[in-house]
Symmetry: D2
Subunit: 308 residues, 4 copies
C-alpha cells in the first residue's frame, strides 16, 4: 500500500493545439509531446483543465487520447482527465479513456449541482468501483468545481485503496501540507502532486511526490532539474530553478484585457507558437486567440529569458 | 421582434424520477407530466438543474427528451436544457435535443474553464448560429456556473435575435428588474422568466413573462392561479397565492444534515413519492435519498398544507 | 408586541457631505435633510453604509449625529448606524448615539473576526441588554460584513423583544420574503425595511414596512409616492414610480473606472452637487471624487429625468 | 533602502488573555510575553487578528499596548496592529499606538466599504504620511478584509518607502512568492513576513524575512529553531520542525461545533490555560469559551506532543 512509483516527478498537463478551423493539430501535438519527453519529464497528463478537456466533445476527447497514446508510445505514463459534471457521466468518460489506453485517470469532485463532502466521497467510491484496478487520481481544483476536497477524506480514500493519488490545484498550501503529512503517517498510499507551477519548491519541501506544472509545456527542463535537485536535497538549486521559471511565468501577467483561460492557456499557446512548436495559437470556441500587443508582450518575456 | 407567445406563464422545471436501480422511471414520469398539465401549466422545462441534467449520460438525456415529447404530445411547449461545460459540447447537446423534438433550448453560460462576459456573449452567438431558428433561452444560474449574465448583454442579444428568452435563477432581483425594463424599451424581444419560486409575485410585478418554479411539481395549480391573477392585475390574490405556496416550500428547510441537491431536489422527490406521483424518492448517484425523520418532516409539511 | 409605528415608510440613509478639506459640510447637510423632509420622508437614517460611518472617526460621528438631531428637530425619527467590528465597540458607539438623541440604533452582525450564527445572535442580545429600551435594528448587509443573518433568527429575536426591526440590504429577496411572512405569523413584532432601492416595489408586495433607499437622497418624492400607493394597494402606480426611479438610478452605471463606494456614493454626491444641494462632491479618504466625463455622464442622466 | 533588520525572524502575534469578567488579565499577559521572549522570539506583534484587536474598545487597546511596552521593556521590538475600517479611523489608532511606544504599526487594507486596489494604495499612502518615520507594515488578510493586496503594489510601495514590510496572511503562496522575488529585485526594501504557521518552511524557502505564527504562543522554541535552521540553509531541520509543530496545530481541528475565532483563538487560549500560562480561556463577547469535550480534545493533543 505505497504510492505507485510510475506517478512521481514532473508530469506536465499537456496543452492541446488547434488548427485555425478548430480541429486537433496533430503535428503540433506531436512536436509538443516530443519536446517534453525530450526534456526529461516523468509522465504526461492529457485532457487536464489546460488541455481543453471541457471544450472538447467526446469524439474529440477520444481523438486526443488516441493520438497521445500513439505518440507517447509507452515512453512515459499517460494520465487522462475524465472531467465531467457528475458520477455517471464521469464513469463514461473513464471507461472510454481506459479502452483507449490510459495508464491512470484523473477526476474532479462532482460539479454544477450543489453538493458537499458526503457527495464528493461517494463520487470517488463509485468511480473506483467502476474503474477497478486503473489508478484513480483526485483532482482538487476548487477554482473550477467550487468544492475543496478535505485532506482527511483524501488520505482516508488513499489508505482504503480508492484513490491512487491527488493532483492538487487548490491553491491551499496549508491543506496540501497536512495532506502530505497524513499520507506519510498512513504509509504513503497516495502519490501527491502539486499543480502550482510557481511554488513547486515549497510543495517539494512539504513532501510532494511530484508536480503537474503547466509552464513545463514551455520550459520542461527547468522543472526536471528542480525535481532532481529536490530528490538530492539540494534546496539551493531547487529555489534557484523556481526563481528562474517564475520569470518565464510572467507570460501570464504581461497581457491586457484577458481573463481566465484566454490569458492563462492563451499565454501557453502563444508562447509555443512563437517558439515554433505550435503552428498557431488558436483557442477553442468561445475563447479568442491573443493578438497584437499581447503577442508582443509574451515574445519579450520569452526573449528576456532566452527561450527565443 | 416581440417575445414568442408560446413561452409565457407557468413553465415548471420537471423533476426526473428514478427507479431504485437508477433507471428512468417512465410511469412516474408520465404521472408527473400529466399532473402538471392537468394543473394548467403553460409549458414544461425538461433537463433543467432540478431535472438531473448533469447527472444523466447523453443516452439517458435522450431517453428523457424522447419520453417527454411522447407524453406531452404537443399539449404544451417542451423546453429542453442543454447543459454542458463549453460551446462545442453544448452545441452537440442542442442538436440532439432538436432532433428529438424540443420546442426550445435552454443553455447556461460556459462553465468550469474560467472566463468572463466576452466569452459568455460569444458562446450564445455560437449556439444561435448552430441552432438556427430554434428558440434559445439563456439560463442565468451563477450558483451553478459561477458567472452572472449581465442584463445589458442579455437585452442586446434579445434585440439582435440571438436569444428568445431568459430563465433567471440568479437570485439577483435588481438585475432582473433592470432586464425587464430594458427588454421593454427594446420592444420586448425576450421572454423573461423567473426561476425563483418563492418570489414569483415580485418578479411578475417587475414585468416577468412567466415563471419556472420547481415547487410547481408539487403544487402546480397555485402557480397557475397566481399567473392568472397577475395577468388581471389582481395583486392581492397574487400575494396570497405566493404566501400559501411558500408555506409548502418549507419542505426545503425542515430536513437536517442535507445540503444542496440532496435537500432541494430531494425534497421534491420525497414529496412526490409521498403524494403517490412517484414510486420512490431515489436520487441519482452520488446523492443519497432522504430517509427516516427527514421523510417524516416533509410529510408533516404536506399534511399541514392539505396536500396529503 | 407589534412593530413600532414610528419606523414605517420611507427612511432614507442620509449621504454625508464633506468640505474639500474633509470636514463635515454643515450647510450642505442641512439642505439635504430639509430637502428630504420637505419631500415627505417618514424618517432619516444617519451613519449608514452610505453615510460615511466607517470613514468617520468617533468625534466626527458624534458631530454628524449632533447636527442631525439639531437639524431634524423632531420632525421625523432619527435612526443612527452604530457600525463597528465587534460587540464591545458597537456598544460604545450605541451609548454615544443614545446620549446624543438617537431615536433608534442600527447595528450589523459582528465583522472582521470570523464567526457564525451563534456569535451573531449573542451579539444582538448583548447590544439589546446594553441599550435597554432604545429600539435596535439589525442591519443585514453581507456584502460589507460577509455574514447573512438568517430569517428564522431575526424573527425569533423580534418576538423576544431583542430587535425592533430589520434593515435588509442583503440582496436576498427569498430570505426577505420568508422574514416578512414569519414576522407576520409572530404578530409582526419587527419593522422590516428593505434597503434595495431598485426593487422596493417587490419588497412592498412581500409585506415590507418601509424602505431605506439611498436614491431618495436624490429624488425623495418618488419614493414617498410609491409608499403611499402601496398603502392604498395601487400596484400600478407602485410599479410606475419604481420604473421612473430606476431610470434615475442609472447614475450608478454610466460612469467608468470606478468601483464600490467611489461609484455608488460617489454618484449620489455628484448628483447632489450638480443639483445645488451639496457644495462639492468630495469623498472621504482614501476615495477620490468623480471628475470629468463621469460627472458629465451623471449630469446627462439627471437632465434626461428632469432633475436638472 | 533595505529592510529594517529589527523586523526579521519569529514575531508571534500575541494572544490576549481575559479575566472571567472580560478585563485584560495582566498577570497572564505577562507570563505569556515572558514565555515567548524566553523562547527566543525576535519580536512581538500585539493587537493582531488573534490579539482581540477588533473586540477591544480604544481604551482597552491602549491598555494592551501600554502593558505590552512595559512588560517587553525593550527586549524585542513591539509591533502594534491598528486595525480599523477606513483611513481616518486607522490614522487615529496609529497615532495613539505611536504615543504609547509602538516600534512599528501594522495596518490592513480598508474594509467594510467596498473598494479596490486604487483605494488600498491611497490608504497606505495616507497612513505613511500621517505616521512619518514609524515603520508601517501592510497586513494582507483577505479572509477578514475581503481585499487581496497585489504583490506589484506592495513591492512598489516598499521601493517608495511607504511600507517597511508586509505581514502576509493571505493564504496565497503564489502571490507571496512573486512578492519575495520582486522585493529582491528592488533591493529588498520590504521585510516580508508570513502569517501562515503551518507552511513557514515553504515561506522561508520562498525568501521570507520571518514569520508571525500564532502557534508560537503555545510553542515558541520550535519556530525559533526553524528560523535558525533556515538561516543556515539546513532545510532538513526546517521541515522536521515544521512537521512537529503541525502535529501540535491539530488543536485547531480536534474540536467540534466551533467556527472561526471560537475554534482558532479559542484553541490557543484553551491550550495556554491548560499549560498554566493563562488563568482562564475566557473569550471576548460575543464568543463563547471552549468547554467539556473540546477542552479534553485539546488537552490530548498537548499531551501527545509533550506540552503537558
Amino acid at each position: 500500500m505505497s504510492a505507485d512509483k510510475r506517478f512521481r516527478g514532473v508530469i506536465p498537463p499537456v496543452v492541446t493545439p488547434d488548427t485555425p478551423d478548430h480541429e486537433l493539430d496533430v503535428p503540433s501535438f506531436e512536436r509538443l509531446i516530443n519536446y517534453m519527453i525530450g526534456g526529461g519529464v516523468d509522465g504526461l497528463f492529457f485532457l487536464g483543465s489546460s488541455g481543453e478537456v471541457v471544450f472538447s466533445t467526446d469524439e474529440r476527447r477520444d481523438q486526443i487520447v488516441r493520438e497521445a497514446v500513439r505518440i507517447v508510445a509507452g515512453r512515459v505514463p499517460v494520465l487522462v482527465g475524465i472531467i465531467d459534471t457528475e458520477t455517471e457521466r464521469v464513469i463514461e468518460q473513464g471507461k472510454r479513456a481506459i479502452a483507449l489506453g490510459a495508464d491512470a485517470l484523473v477526476a474532479t469532485a462532482p460539479f454544477y449541482a450543489l453538493g458537499g463532502p458526503v457527495e464528493a466521497e461517494e463520487h470517488f467510491r463509485c468511480l473506483h468501483e467502476a474503474f477497478g484496478d486503473v489508478p484513480l487520481f483526485a483532482y482538487d481544483i476548487p477554482v473550477c468545481v467550487h468544492t475543496k476536497l478535505g485532506w482527511k477524506m483524501l488520505a482516508k480514500l488513499g489508505a482504503e485503496g480508492v484513490l491512487a493519488g491527488v493532483k492538487d490545484s487548490s491553491g491551499d498550501d496549508v491543506s496540501f501540507r497536512y495532506l502530505c503529512q497524513e499520507n506519510e503517517k498512513l504509509g504513503h498510499p497516495l502519490s501527491v502532486l502539486t499543480g502550482h507551477e510557481i511554488v513547486v519548491d515549497g510543495a517539494y519541501l512539504s513532501g510532494a511526490d511530484g508536480s503537474v506544472p503547466g509552464l513545463a509545456n514551455v520550459e520542461p527542463k527547468g522543472y526536471v532539474r528542480m525535481w532532481k535537485a529536490a530528490q538530492e536535497g539540494d534546496w539551493t538549486t531547487v529555489k534557484a530553478e523556481q526563481d528562474r521559471l517564475n520569470e518565464i511565468s510572467h507570460i501570464f501577467d504581461v497581457t491586457k484585457g484577458l481573463v481566465g483561460y484566454a490569458g492563462g492557456v492563451g499565454a501557453f499557446k502563444t508562447a509555443l507558437w512563437l517558439m515554433g512548436i505550435f503552428d498557431s495559437n488558436t483557442m477553442p470556441r468561445p475563447v479568442k486567440a491573443m493578438e497584437g500587443e499581447n503577442v508582443e508582450a509574451i515574445k519579450k518575456v520569452l526573449e528576456d529569458n532566452g527561450l527565443l
